[in-house]
Symmetry: C2
Subunit: 741 residues, 2 copies
């Protein structure tokens, strides 16, 4: 196929030249006209109608309505003329059989563990179809013990507890939601010896302290509960029984007892109405100031006298899941894929999460189908994916990516993800080779509430919230937005972290609050009252994600820009050097203060205090291999971008398999053996933190070794990542050499 394409391209170039029209300009103009047509199609009214249908009943993994939604979307895609299929997998899915949380000392109280219907909200009372509040992939257990309040239950909270002489060994901990992905809380609690874990939503974080509660306002009412998976996704996401391979009918499955991503201790989420009696029954030290929430009580840490009985027993079923995949075949490069995805399953009715993003994707698919009818042909194949079972552990996308791993590694040029959407400012994150490209897209989409482009509004907001004059100066001079790095928490994970496919995630938000996340109140009634009520940000999301897909599908030369990537890596290197220096300096200072007697001087003899112990001062570490690799990367990126620029001006045909090589560049950032202790995560630049969950760790092997003070291993990781970056640079050089010919 390659030679044919070349011939046509040469012929076209000749014809255009003969007609005295600069060929690139004409193509750009045609593309721009198609883009304008595309922008006009996504319709807020359609999105509203889709949301009403898709969120009308609970549609979680394994539910009747979830399957119905998949079939309805399949039908929609096909009705628009797209080639669409459902791809199904069978995955492990625990649902509650027994749930008990009761205070048995010093007073009795039994937690309600349910979300009542709200007057006026027509879907909030569908209790028969709702999954009750629980945490998926909690271990089964029946435990009784004293309670300890552990704030957010993140590593620094356990350091604080240690300094107060409080152990959670043999206790049940109660942590509040926030500051980390929820699965970190039972993981760390178990590592510290706890035998059970409760997670509650404090009104300070998303309840009345933030604003009026549902149904008067968008925030979490007293009985609202955040469901959610506690599967150890930083180890590997997807079906727990089939790590690394698709959960197809005949896949080899682990025995459940051998699964490492199920929690070690039982966990349940509770509302603040259920949490208040438990927290009130704690005595012991008053919680540190930044641990205190907004309940009208004095927050104590415990342990006890509150004694809690926690029982969690699940039905551990294998359930079918349904990904809906629609395609538009590429006219010139059918084996180069641009993939667009959003999940369709929810914890309950899920109007915002995920339907607000899903309806944008649907309108993109409809729009491209419409353009197709008008004669538009994307050069590359476009896929529109509605993932199932994201909520349980990114399962639908992960199983699909694992199943199609080899095709994807050969073909996938870009994965574009969306999920929940709202009103306000663009949030964009992704591979930094896409930063310049993504910025370019946002410059051409209008913000619905202002006369600014999405890019300009985002940039102006960043200027306003910048912490320093230096940051503002950079924002003002830099022609691109900065993409955040991707951690985890949505369906890009398997594409980026496991397969090394350049990925980007888009979403709007930041202007409307909300405390209905993963509750029964995240529904159509809530969304049209408090969120993107007229769906204009749904349309903007379609326009951003769709334009990105379209441009990638259309480009002669795939529009990666490696200068941005090289600059970002160089910044990460600076961060790591600073981080290691700061930790070193902090240890020296702490040891000095111990010698000076500072800690015993400030200790209150009326309180229990464990004085810190001196720590070995870490060695100076050499980041030189990374610095050298970073410089090489910078040079190779610059050379490539220059070569690409020159080629564009030249009017020459694209030599060899340049695009095929380009789309595999991101894979050069992966290694087969993966990250230390978690081989599923292959990418060496981006990963979710092992102790943050959603939060990204860039250059993760090095960064986590520093953060966890594993000094002996840092330089080995530095060396390994330097090798990865050198390989990446060499790959770019190869492409540049071909382009420069």
């Amino acid at each position: 196929m390659e030679s044919k394409v070349k011939f046509f391209a040469a012929a076209l170039a000749f014809m255009l030249f003969a007609a005295q029209v600069p060929p690139k300009t004409l193509i750009a103009q045609q593309q721009s006209e198609w883009e304008a047509k595309f922008h006009a199609i996504p319709s807020p009214d359609s999105m509203r109608a889709y949301m009403k249908r898709l969120s009308a009943r609970p549609h979680h993994l394994g539910s009747v309505y979830g399957k119905s939604n998949a079939e309805w979307m399949l039908h929609k895609f096909r009705s628009w003329g797209l080639d669409a299929q459902i791809e199904s997998y069978d995955v492990l899915f625990p649902t509650p059989k027994e749930r008990v949380v009761e205070l048995i000392e010093p007073v009795s109280f039994r937690a309600k563990l349910m979300e009542p219907a709200v007057a006026g909200d027509p879907t909030s009372g569908q209790h028969d179809e709702q999954l009750p509040p629980y945490n998926g992939y909690s271990a089964d257990g029946d435990v009784t013990a004293q309670l300890v309040y552990v704030n957010y239950g993140i590593p620094e909270d356990y350091e604080q507890l240690a300094s107060m002489g409080i152990s959670v060994e043999g206790k049940i901990v109660i942590a509040r939601y926030g500051a980390s992905w929820r699965g970190i809380k039972p993981k760390l609690a178990a590592e510290h010896g706890a035998i059970g874990c409760l997670i509650y939503s404090d009104p300070r974080d998303d309840g009345y302290h933030q604003g009026d509660v549902f149904p008067q306002g968008p925030w979490r009412p007293k009985d609202g509960v955040q469901r959610g998976s506690v599967m150890d996704m930083p180890l590997y996401p997807g079906d727990p029984l089939t790590p690394g391979v698709g959960a197809t009918a005949n896949a080899k499955r682990l025995d459940r007892k051998d699964v490492k991503t199920i929690t070690k201790i039982p966990v349940l989420p509770i509302s603040y109405a259920d949490a208040q009696p438990l927290l009130t029954a704690l005595t012991g030290p008053v919680a540190p100031a930044h641990w205190r929430g907004a309940l009208p009580i004095t927050y104590h840490v415990g342990p006890g006298p509150a004694k809690v009985h926690l029982k969690v027993i699940a039905n551990w079923d294998i359930k079918p899941i349904y990904n809906v995949i629609a395609r538009i075949k590429g006219s010139e490069y059918p084996d180069q894929w641009v993939i667009r995805g959003n999940h369709h399953d929810a914890w309950v009715n899920g109007a915002q999460d995920p339907i607000s993003g899903m309806v944008a994707l649907m309108e993109e698919a409809r729009a491209f189908a419409e353009l197709y009818k008008q004669g538009w042909r994307p050069k590359r194949t476009m896929l529109f994916c509605a993932w199932d079972a994201e909520e349980q552990g990114l399962i639908g996308s992960t199983e699909w990516a694992e199943t199609h791993a080899e095709e994807l590694k050969s073909n996938a040029a870009l994965y574009i993800n969306t999920d929940s959407n709202g009103r306000g400012f663009l949030f964009a994150a992704g591979s930094h080779s896409l930063e310049s490209f993504a910025s370019g897209v946002t410059k051409d989409i209008n913000d619905p509430q202002t006369d600014l482009s999405v890019y300009a509004r985002s940039k102006l907001r960043q200027i306003h919230s910048a912490g320093s004059a230096q940051t503002r100066a950079e924002l003002r001079s830099r022609p691109d937005l900065r993409l955040s790095a991707l951690g985890s928490g949505s369906d890009y994970t398997a594409f980026l972290d496991h397969l090394g496919i350049a990925s980007v995630h888009f979403g709007f938000g930041g202007m409307d609050g909300g405390g209905i996340y993963h509750s029964a109140y995240d529904d159509f009634y809530w969304y049209i009252k408090f969120a993107d009520t007229d769906f204009v940000y749904g349309r903007a999301l379609s326009q951003v994600a769709g334009t990105a897909a379209m441009r990638f599908a259309e480009a002669d030369l795939l529009p990666y820009n490696f200068n941005n990537f090289a600059e970002t890596v160089s910044n990460y290197l600076d961060e790591l050097e600073d981080l290691s220096q700061n930790i070193r300096r902090d240890i020296i200072e702490k040891n000095r203060q111990i010698d000076e007697g500072v800690y015993s001087a400030i200790a209150d003899p009326r309180e229990k205090t464990v004085l810190p112990e001196k720590e070995t001062v870490p060695p100076y570490l050499s980041f030189a291999p990374l610095a050298n690799a970073s410089e090489q990367l910078t040079n190779s990126a610059k050379r490539y971008q220059q070569a690409a620029e020159n080629w564009k001006k030249s009017g020459k045909n694209l030599p060899g398999k340049i695009n095929e090589m380009l789309l595999q560049a991101e894979q050069k950032l992966t290694v087969a053996e993966g990250l230390p202790g978690r081989s599923w995560f292959k990418h060496q630049i981006y990963a979710p933190g092992f102790y943050t969950g959603y939060g990204v760790k860039t250059l993760p092997a090095v960064r986590e070794a520093i953060e966890q003070k594993e000094w002996d291993s840092v330089e080995g990781h530095v060396h390994a990542i330097a090798g990865v970056l050198n390989g990446f640079a060499a790959h770019l050089d190869k492409i540049s050499t071909m382009l420069e010919k």
Copy 2:
């Protein structure tokens, strides 16, 4: 008298020399022995007994028990052999006749406005003798209007309201206690057009959010109210009818209608139990995040629909007040005075405020009386003052200082103040010419809870809480503690700010919380349960303040150190230059962001927002006169300290009236016309902030002109203060010249 002293000193020196004992060393040794004897005398048991007596019944200005306390102390002082008198004044003192706070829309609620008795607390039910909760020197008024929540009611809060398009014109504001002295709240509210003001104690600031509430813990219970004066003390403190002169029987008095320190609008303080229904009835925008307290509600700003009726009518009586003044006459320099003061009046029973400080002063007086019996004679006259009517506006100390102004300006070498005391770390503030001296004292007093000196514990704590490596380095290398500058809030004000007498304030605290400030629950029961329960910090306070008094009374050369003062002034100058540069930079940046469209880009069209307007960029300002004066001051201070050092080594008699000149040095920092707009405040280096109340403003004329953006006046003030500092330096030079002879 001067020549006699010289003769005896010379004779003594000769005798000592003849005995082959270095004279200074012997004197130092004798002093040290007397100090050791002094340190052993103050007794926790006595302090506890005094506190029990003094706080047994409410003892506010004008109360039967307040007079009884004064007479009891007079008797005590005399019983120890001291020369003691009561000095009385007649002052304006409003007490409540009518108090009403009621919500009349959208629902009815009448505030309780009283503090119930607490079971187990024997004095909390003395309602017949208690002043009910109210704010002294509130204007009388009867107003009804919509309510607006204004956070702390400080200037930046009104800027925030303006940006939200909310005016308090014609409204009643509700502000929470904290972040400023309370009197600022009605003052600013009235300046912004409000017609009434409520001040409540949010549980976030000193209630259950901080810890267990009384009687389970030390924090403010739901019905606890903070009384307090709202007299405009930053204008002038003391009796409102007699500014600048003592409120003696025949003093010329202002007509009450001409008094400027009574508020313009009625004000009442309320509990959080009384505040919650009012705040709950507000709608309008949700309060900004940092405005929200710990009540279990969504904090809205209003205005309304809450409509409030506020009525405050007082009995405006003239009442007698009773200062108790005890003396030990100086053996060598009876006309050089060391003054030690603490107030004895309280809002209610006032165990912590002020009795915890008062009992320390009493034990100092008893200890010196005891030493006197043993043969010790202070060279200078020592005064022990128990002030009345501090709570209403520093009235007792102010009227006394105004009455004795001329004597004090001739004679007073030092004023040492204390007030509330507690458990923990030393807080020391004062004239920076006393910094080195005060540090030296704290090096010789043991902290009761550790094996450290008070100095060392304080220093180690500062090292621990230092914000930067630079601050830590300075703390480690600097041989002195840093004294905070004095603002206002206790009885040093008239001495330092009005008369220019070098002053220092000491107190311990920081380890025990408390929410009983100015409530009926600040009583003996509370204090012995939650504060310095065994009075060991009472003893430490006696030792610190008494040692300071003793050393000053004993010194041959008054131990001021002007190097510290010069260094501090130089730091203040740096602060002012930075402040003016930062304001300038912020205005330029804000203007730039307005031009860029930042504010309209970030505005939420669903919310009312008033976009900021461009501001004139202030001129560059010359601080050169101050810089030159600061350098001159540094040189003159250095010269003086060297001359003093040389003189000490020389064994020579002190020539001329060196000490008389030294003790008047601080007065060289005052000017007769006072600060702009508030002529009572004479000191040009320290003053309470016009819009902070307690919070100090150093180099106040310049600093407040910059903060209030009165650019045209800054350089005039710079010039004036430079002149003051040059005069001060010249005074030092004169002393140095005499010493160097």
